[in-house]
Symmetry: C2
Subunit: 363 residues, 2 copies
């Protein structure tokens, strides 16, 4: 158990944006929401999963939708609490604590704001160990925990409660509701017991995000390059250095879909890489060959400052570094790969772990 | 107070299909659902609105979506009760009785099935006095009653509960949920007190439907033509006799949209009429001139048998009679016309009551 203060929040937002692999929301926006909440309501207690009673009721909260929209349609803060209390009222039970559903610049911050405002603890774990675009893409789903009942709330004051026969139906119905609400909504989902949490969640995500954020921030402040340390800490790989030549994007089915085209710099000169994304970066291809793919993390950072770049911030001319980080082992099981592997996203290729892809590719 | 038996149900289904003005569902399907329910659970008690206590909780039930879909995606009956009990559980109060939201071959029958199965009374009133395609098109809306909380249930077992800031938001969110559920869903909506019911509902709709159905049925059995009596009872007008030359239709935004083109027969020879519909018949045009428009009722019946024809049953070659019936006066108020007049449906013309349009048009 420890308290999260403003400095911790700064670091978590930055580190979670890296683990968000392009999605999970803009860290600047997320940070503001969390900082505002702790300024008003005081610091938040962060619990280890092992500190949670087995029978406690835990409810993740998050923003659902296309992150690109959130930048222009800023939450007013009330919907975080409304969505959470909506589920509490529906369940008729007191919720013990909240928890992020994914790591990301916004989605690691919303649970902090909820915890601060309601005076409940936050748990140091999530359901992805990164960010993914759809609701069933959580370790909770792999372990048979139901997404429903779930609640969606918008900034206007509308609430939608879903009781579905499967997590895919929760995704389908929540997605169209989110689109109708203006392409973003707050959600509370996957209510679970402390016991289920300990079995299913990916532990330590806030602390891990904080550590990553601290490395990036301190290097930036000292004019140093944090990449070597980042790769050590995340067990990651450098994939590519390049300049963004083109970004094709569309808002489709409530998602930000697109491709970023990169032209190599320095030792990657004359090489070309494409990165396909659906809110999050899914696949990195060099001349049609897979450099890395979901569920492993593909992270784009600024070449000079190592600041993580979300997919909505990809712009022509930016000079970037592309990293790959091995995903949590839970995603490398058959059900994990079926749920979030390349084929689920429509790519006709088998998942190969980044460690194997990198053999013989090291520069 | 009286009991509805199988014979009454036959007549109501037939008469409500006429008042459904092309929408409200197929009466054969509707009748089967209601007959099956009363066979299993016994006859249903029909109450006059004045027999309902002022503080009683009343909840309308209906099918939402494109009627054309319901023909192939037949409800299993459990969703009627699930949707109703879903709202009862959410409200935490016992529901005293149910009531149709509109008149129609299916939507006058579903509340009978619900009442039979739950052993509660049915009220002889509705919110339209006809059928309309959208949720806010009810007299309850004109009187400021909230559509939400509302519940949608599908035949697979999914439930959606909506709490919205306006009835238009209820329509928007319920429509996308309905489309996602497969273009049809059962709904419970506009929960109200007995007092609100007495002020807002259009009374006597079941008895009126029954009377119309009985006229059509008995004339058919005796080989007579019921049109004169039908026009007397409904204060309606004959608009046209014709053969269907073409039906253009599409499923769009969860609605059955289209145009039926009719070529005149007998005294209407060499005349052409077009009828535009969105689930229900909206406008009848002769050479671009309005013959009748919403909110007045435009009803198409078989030329020989006077059986009402729903928009999904409009087929090339059918010989039909087109009738127009004045709507309830509540629809002729400024808010009524704003809610269901021609302009709401995208037609650039003012509503003129059928009585005025018919002056000088009588043949």
């Amino acid at each position: 158990m420890r308290k999260l203060d403003a400095k911790a929040i700064e670091h978590i937002a930055l580190g979670a944006a890296l683990l968000g692999t392009g999605g999970g929301g803009d860290p600047y926006l997320g940070k503001l929401m969390a900082l505002q909440a702790i300024e008003k309501y005081g610091p938040v207690t962060l619990l280890e999963p092992d500190e949670v009673p087995d029978d406690a009721l835990i409810v993740p909260t998050a923003m659902m939708g296309a992150p690109v929209v959130l930048v222009e349609k800023i939450p007013n803060g009330q919907e975080f609490v409304r969505v959470f209390e909506g589920l509490e009222r529906f369940l008729g039970k007191k919720i013990f604590a909240t928890i992020p559903i994914e790591a990301g610049g916004v989605n690691s911050m919303i649970p902090i704001a909820v915890a601060a405002q309601l005076g409940i603890p936050l748990i140091d774990a999530d359901g992805m160990g990164r960010a993914f675009p759809e609701l069933q893409m959580v370790t909770y789903h792999l372990d048979g925990i139901s997404a429903s009942p779930m609640v969606l709330s918008d900034e206007k004051g509308n609430n939608v409660i879903l009781e579905t026969i499967s997590n895919t139906w929760a995704e389908n119905l929540a997605r169209v509701a989110t689109i109708t609400m203006g392409a973003s909504a707050m959600i509370s989902i996957y209510s679970m017991t402390g016991k289920q949490l300990k079995q299913s969640a990916i532990k330590n995500i806030m602390t891990f995000s904080e550590r990553i954020g601290k490395i990036i921030k301190e290097a930036r402040d000292n004019g140093e390059n944090p990449i070597k340390e980042l790769l050590d800490v995340t067990k990651g790989y450098e994939l590519f250095k390049g300049k963004i030549e083109d970004v094709l994007r569309e808002l489709k089915g409530g998602f930000s879909l697109g491709t970023a085209k990169l032209e190599g710099l320095e030792e990657y000169k004359n090489e070309n890489v494409e990165i396909k994304f659906q809110n999050e970066n899914l696949i990195a291809l060099k001349d049609g060959q897979v450099l890395a793919s979901v569920p492993d993390l593909i992270c784009i950072v600024d070449l000079e400052t190592s600041t993580p770049i979300t997919t909505e911030a990809l712009k022509y001319g930016r000079r970037v570094l592309v990293l790959a980080i091995p995903c949590d082992p839970k995603w490398r099981t058959p059900k994990g790969i079926e749920t979030v592997g390349p084929r689920y996203f429509g790519y006709d290729l088998d998942y190969v772990p980044i460690e194997e892809l990198m053999k013989g590719e090291m520069k």
